[in-house]
Each structure stands twice: as C-alpha cells, then as structure tokens.
C-alpha cells in the first residue's frame, strides 16, 4: 500500500478562461494533517471540490487513496468525510436525527451517533432542532457527521470558523486523534495560529499554483525576517535587518556609542510568511 493518500498531478481547473487551479502538483501522505492555505480565490476550494468529486479537472489527474477521483468516485465516496465551509443540515430535524439519517446511509450502527455527538460535546443538544443551534454548534455537528463512518480521509473547509476557543481546541484534539488513528486530514483555513499549532505540513497556493510546501516551522524558519526599529537620541528612526551582518554591525556600533534611545525588535510570524509568499502586503 502506497503511503501517499492524495496525489495531484499537474491539476488544472478552468472556469471559462479563468484558471482556478493552474498545474498543481502535490502529494499528501497517509496519516498526515495537511493545511491548504492561500488568499481568497487562490484555488483551495476548487482543489477540495475536485477531491470530493464535485468538479471535473480540466487537465491533469487527482488520485485519492490510490483511486482516480473521476473514474472511481463511487468507490472513494464512502472512504472520506467532508466538512463544508457552509453548514448544510436538515433544519427541521434534531442533531441526533440528522446524524441518524447519515448513519443509515453509511450503514453505521446507531450507537456511533451518540459517540460522535459526545465527541463534539453536543450530546446535551442532541434532541433540539438544528434551527435552534448556534453557528458554532452547527459547525460541530458537521464535524460529527463527517466522523460518523470513521473515514480514512477527512476534508475540512474552515473547520473552526465561528467556534469559541474551547470548541476550537476540541476540534483540534479530534483531528489530532484521527491522525493518530491513521487517518489523513486536509484542511483549509485562514487561521495561521491553527496551522502552526496542528498541521504537520502546509501547502500555500496562490493564483492556482503551489508557492510553498513544508512544515509550518520550516516555512517560518526559511521565510521569517528579523528586524529592529530604533530611535536615536537625536530623534532619528532607523530599521535594521538582523539577518544581514552589515546591519547587525551598524546597530551594534550605535548601541555601543550610546546613541540608541529606544529599540524594538520585530520577528515576523507565520502570518507574515504567508503574506510574503502570496505576494501580499504586510500591515
């Protein structure tokens, strides 16, 4: 069995003349928690749509668990779970009944419904109609639905949007547990802290192309800039790049001479790395 769960090979998806995904080549390993990042319109959602079989590739190939997503969609479907960015429950049903319906489709025992509700801490609200749920509860119910059949592969689109800190932590814990159990998780998010915290690897896409691929730490190390802003005793302001020897030397001289009145160091975070890689301004 190959250790690659998802393999995208020169994937292209065009909407008319617009290339939403432009030659994306990517391999995601089994048991990996992979973050797909990118600005709005970068092609993340389109890539996910191809992976769940809801969009045909214009060119290239997408293989999931060794199967072609177009040709073998019916065989792939029962093996993945999907948490969409927009909640899609039966509003008139209770949370429990929503899960029971999907449990029946997956031929999963009804006992699993309660397990999943407990997992996302919704057991107390299980019998309330979904129309009475908060946004966060609805998102947790989506996750519970995706976990019903214990899929080998989980796609999550903004899984922690609208969740409070505790609920977000619960989701992170569940995802790590799934990965520990051997599942592969692919998530898209705009929360850089979340990416740094839980993702094993990150792919940053921009204008349909992959611009960076590595672990969050490696990306941060490779791309983070260290700078120092000083104000001299003569009220002059300077910025020194601490990654260059010349700037470090000049700064040291000013300090030694006692001309530095105030100094503040800046270490760009992962957010800045993301902005730098995607060619966006840092404010």
């Amino acid at each position: 069995m190959s250790d690659v769960a998802i393999h995208l090979d020169a994937l292209r998806v065009h909407y008319g003349h617009f290339a939403a995904v432009d030659g994306l080549t990517l391999a995601i390993k089994r048991g990996e928690l992979f973050g797909l990042l990118g600005p709005n319109g970068a092609g993340k959602s389109t890539t996910i749509r191809v992976l769940i079989g809801q969009r045909l590739p214009t060119a290239g190939q997408a293989r999931v668990l060794g199967l072609d997503v177009v040709r073998d969609w019916a065989a792939i479907k029962p093996r993945f779970g999907y948490v969409p960015d927009r909640e899609n429950h039966f509003e008139e049903f209770s949370g429990r009944r929503n899960l029971e319906f999907f449990a029946d489709l997956y031929a999963t025992p009804r006992t699993r419904v309660l397990e999943c509700l407990q997992l996302v801490e919704l057991e107390d609200a299980a019998d309330l109609p979904v129309r009475g749920y908060s946004l966060g509860m609805r998102r947790k119910l989506l996750l519970a639905r995706a976990l019903l059949h214990e899929p080998e592969l989980l796609y999550l689109d903004e899984p922690t949007a609208n969740l409070d800190i505790h609920s977000a932590d619960v989701v992170h814990r569940i995802l790590r547990e799934r990965v520990a159990a051997g599942a592969t998780v692919v998530l898209t998010t705009h929360d850089m802290d979340e990416v740094e915290k839980i993702c094993d690897r990150v792919g940053i896409v921009c204008r349909g192309k992959l611009v960076a691929l590595d672990s969050p730490l490696a990306l941060k190390t490779a791309h983070t800039e260290h700078k120092a802003d000083i104000e001299t005793t003569l009220h002059e302001r300077f910025t020194f790049d601490l990654d260059t020897a010349a700037d470090r030397e000049r700064l040291a001289e000013l300090i030694r001479a006692g001309h530095v009145a105030t100094m503040r160091t800046r270490e760009f975070d992962f957010h800045a790395t993301f902005l730098k890689l995607t060619g966006q301004e840092f404010e």
Binding site: Q54, P84, N88, F90, E92, F101
Partner: protein, 423 residues
C-alpha cells in the same frame, strides 16, 4: 439499488413532511373536502342517455362558438357550401369535416360550445334522401340560429344549382325555375321551400320535350332534424371531485417535488447526500418513488371517498398513472431547470397559469390542435370520465394521448438531467 439506502432516503422524506406539517395540513383539508362532498350529497347522481352525439362537459360559457358541417363524402352540395361566401362573423367559426359513412352513426363527442350540422345521404323507396341533422347544445336549440340561417340559404342555393344542372341535362327549360326566398327563418318554411323547389323542378321537367327517362324525382328528398346533444351537463360535484384528484397529483408532483428538491440543492443538503454512499440514482429513485406514490395514494383516496366503486375501474387507475407520470415529468423538468426553491415555486406556478390560460384561449377561440399537446387537456377529461363512470371511445383516445405526453415529459426531464447535471 441498495434497499437500506432507499429506505433511509424514503424515511427521510416522510420525516421531513412530518416535521414541516404544511403538506400534511393540505392533505387533511382535501380529505375533509372529499368527505363533505361525499356525505352531504343533496341529489342522487344523475345519469344521462347516451345515444347519438354528446357534448363534453367543462364549458365555461354558454352558446355555440363553433359549428362543424359534417358529411360522409364530398358531393356537389358540399362543394357548393365550402365555396359559398359566409358572413364575416362566421368566417372562422364554421369548419367542414368529413366523417366516413361507417362512423357517422357512432358516438361523436364535441367540445363544449360546439354544435354541428350533419349531412347524411340515404334512400327511401329508391329515392335519394338528404338528411340534415342539426345538433345543438342541450336546452339551447336556438344557439345554432346564426349558423342555420347561413346554412339553409346556401343549401337552398346549392340545390337550385343542382336542379338547373339536372333540368338542363334532361333538356328542360331551367330558366323557368323561380329564385329562392331567403328571408324566412322558420324551419317549416325552410322545409317547405325545399319541397316547393322539388315540385317546381318536377313540373318543369314534365314540360320538357321528348320521353321521360325515369319517373324518379331529380332532386333528393329533404329531411331536417333538430336534435339536442347528449351527455351529462357538467355536474359540479363530480367536477369538484375531479379537480381535487388532479390537484392532489399536481400538488405532490409539480409543486412539492421540485420545491423541496431545489431547497435541498440550495441548502447544500443534496450535496451532503451525494457525498454519502447513496448514488445519484438512489437519491433520484427515492424522490421518483415518494412523490408520485403519495400523489397517487391521495388522489385514489379522494376519488374513493367520492365514489368507492371507481377504485375497481381499470380506466381510473390507468388515467391516474398516466397523469401522475406526466406530472412527475413536469415536476422533474422544473426541478432540473430551477436552481433555487423560489425559482422552482415560480416555475410550477407559471407552468400552471400558462397552461390554464392556453387551454382557455384555445377553447374560446376554437384554436384546433394546440390543446391536444397539453397533458392538462386530456388528464381532467379521463379522470372525470372515470369518476362519473362514463367512459367512451374518445376517452380511451384521450388516455393514449395522456400516456404519450407523460412519456414525452419524463423523457424531457431525463434528457435535461443528463445535460444540466442533477445537482
């Protein structure tokens, strides 16, 4: 097709309707209406004699807006009538129709507001007899007056032309024949004018030089009969029962099916089901099964409450299945074309309004052919015939048309599904 998935999908549909009680309330209302209609019947259902010609029920206004001139073969008289000038108001309202002699004594059904004058050829004691049967709506013998006035004038003129031709052929002086008087509208006077023409022709013929070839009169004997069209006048109770049956099928297949389908699509629920192990065919099959079955069940219940014996009628079940199949095709077509629940609602309402208007305009203006393309033209007729228990040959033809149109709609829906995608 996996049964456990189909069952889950069907149970989901049932639960959705149990949770949103609007559909159930309407079903309850229809059942109560059917019970009221059945148990508070002021009169016993009337039966009608069914010999001769019948007028279909369903006319919205009285009078005769169209008249058929029907004949067994094209004779010089028919040719004369076809070419004869007509008053402007009758230009478009008189239609000539050849009916094979073998069918002339069969049951002919006329649409509401249509009368006819049939020209039948027969013989008595070796003499040809020309029978004119004027079929007018029941209880409205005067409704054909305008057509008759033109018809009798031109028939008299046509017979005069025939007489001139015949007299000339036997060497008689046709110029002695007097000109007809057209003013009289009295039936007796008209018949008398035909008889006087025949007497005059025979007199002139007797004055002709040479031997008489035959003692038979040159002109045929004329008989005029005014007859009322048969058929039951529209019984409002049976019409209401039919309307409820049609409405229950329309409501489930053309309204509920597309709107709830589009709601699922709009809210992404259809996508969630599509990503589950359920195949698109299983999801569609559940919908195909649920709504028509509910519609047929409700329609049969309503018809059964009104008239229980209808449930043992093969024609009723065939009618129900064909109309439900057609409505299912229409509903699925709307569901495929509409992207949102609102668009589906608008689509089903616009369809209903446009077809109703089309049928009304066609009936009022006597536009031929076009109504036959509407399932809503045939459906109520066959269901009404089944419910009142008066099924004639023409109703079987309506049933065949309904089955064909149902097939067309289902085919169109399937074709659109393949082209546009089911989501």
């Amino acid at each position: 097709m996996r049964l456990y998935i189909l069952r889950a999908l069907l149970v989901k549909e049932v639960r959705r309707h149990l949770a949103n009680r609007g559909g159930l309330a309407l079903i309850g209302l229809l059942i109560v209406a059917a019970l009221l209609l059945s148990f508070f019947n002021p009169n016993a259902a009337g039966a009608a004699g069914q010999d001769g010609m019948v007028a279909e029920t369903g006319g919205l206004v009285g009078g005769v807006h169209h008249c058929f001139i029907e004949y067994g073969r094209v004779t010089p008289l028919v040719r004369h009538l076809q070419k004869a000038p007509r008053p402007p108001e009758l230009q478009e309202t008189i239609r000539f129709r050849e009916i094979p002699p073998s069918q002339v004594n069969e049951l002919i059904t006329y649409p509401p507001g249509v009368g006819s004058i049939q020209i039948r050829e027969t013989s008595r004691d070796g003499r040809p007899v020309l029978q004119f049967h004027v079929w007018h709506p029941k209880d409205a013998p005067g409704a054909m007056a305008g057509y008759e006035q033109w018809f009798w004038q031109e028939t008299r003129r046509g017979l005069q032309e025939m007489a001139v031709h015949q007299l000339t052929a036997v060497g008689a002086d046709a110029g002695k024949l007097g000109q007809p008087q057209y003013q009289d509208k009295n039936l007796w006077a008209i018949a008398e004018s035909f008889h006087s023409l025949s007497r005059e022709v025979e007199l002139i013929r007797s004055l002709a030089p040479g031997p008489v070839a035959s003692d038979k009169p040159l002109l045929p004997e004329i008989e005029i009969r005014h007859e009322a069209l048969g058929g039951t006048p529209l019984d409002l109770r049976s019409a209401i029962a039919t309307a409820m049956v049609v409405f229950s099928l329309y409501f489930t297949c053309v309204y509920l099916l597309p709107t709830l389908n589009c709601e699922e699509r709009e809210r992404g629920i259809l996508l969630a089901q599509a990503l589950s192990p359920a195949s698109p065919y299983e999801i569609l099959m559940a919908k195909f099964l649920f709504y028509p079955v509910i519609g047929i069940g409700l329609a049969a219940l309503l018809a059964g409450i009104y008239k229980p014996e209808v449930l043992s009628s093969l024609f009723f079940w065939l009618s129900l299945l064909s109309v439900a199949g057609g409505f299912l095709g229409i509903g699925m077509t709307v569901a495929t074309l509409a992207k949102t629940q609102r668009a589906a609602f608008m689509g089903s309402m616009c369809y209903l309004m446009s077809v109703a208007l089309l049928l009304f305009i066609c009936q009022q203006n006597g536009i031929p052919g076009l109504p036959y393309l509407a399932l809503e033209y045939h459906g109520p007729r066959i269901l009404h015939a089944a419910i009142v228990g008066e099924v004639y040959r023409n109703h079987w033809l309506h049933l065949i048309a309904a089955i064909f149109l149902a097939w067309c709609w289902v085919f169109a829906a399937g074709w659109l599904f393949r082209r546009r995608g089911w989501q």
